[in-house]
Amino acid sequence: MGAELLTRFRYDDYDLTPLGDVTQRTGSASKGEIEISFDSELRYLDVVQCVSDSITRMLSFDDDTRYWVGMSVRESVTNAILHGNKMDEGKRVWVRFALDPERLVIYVRDQGAGFDESKLPNPLDPKNLLRPSGRGIFYIRTFMDDVRYTVLPEGGMEVRMEKRLNHKVKSDQEGEGNAN
């Protein structure tokens, strides 16, 4: 019965239309990784944030850390859509979550020309304090443990953001301690 239901779920309830030009699909998630990709539309920000929140909850990050990781993902995806892909809905954004015992690494990749991070204005400079934009990457750097930007040789820009797993809720750590 269970297998029968599973078969029906897989083959009858899904619209198995052809995947189209698979050469445009450059996803590279491997074991222990979760990847989603989508068109350059801001309405997908909430979807990505939900995925981020689910993963950080699964990893037992404390509430504050989950919030700031979610915001960092949101800011990175906003940058990818707005500045990388320049809102071109024909261009894709990839977000990949790589889980290992010590850290969560999140990759956000676009199909834009990339940028030189060292040339970004410092938002803390008094002359930039009242600028309406330019704080996103600064926030990401503040909330994540390690952030690296790479212009990919095959095209596109990728940001790698790392959060170490020492931000777990206390009760969880205590629970683990008691079990040992």
Binding site: L45, T78, L124, P132, G134, R135, G136, Y139
Partner: protein, 113 residues
Amino acid sequence: MRIDTRTTDGITVLDVHGRITIGEGSVEMRNKLRELLQAGKKDILLNLGDVSYVDSSGIGELVSCYTTVTNQGGRLKLLHLTKKVQELLAITKLLTVFESYEDEKKAIASFSK
């Protein structure tokens, strides 16, 4: 995002509800401020107590509101900052720019100083 407008002791209080994020709310806030400034209402208290989420664009929007009002000779102050918004403003040194209050009566009274 929704903005409710009320007046207390001659000060316009804008109660902002919902999110201030990229593509959400910026037009409403700008239109509301333009409308108020055109009507000569230049002392504005922005109540952010019911704001559920703010991203870097939302912070930028608050900065835009501040510069728009001060450039017209007005004053814009903030009320009931959530812990998260307070942190975002502090990290980018914007708490030194904005005058913010926890208590509405004190905030209103501060405009008469």
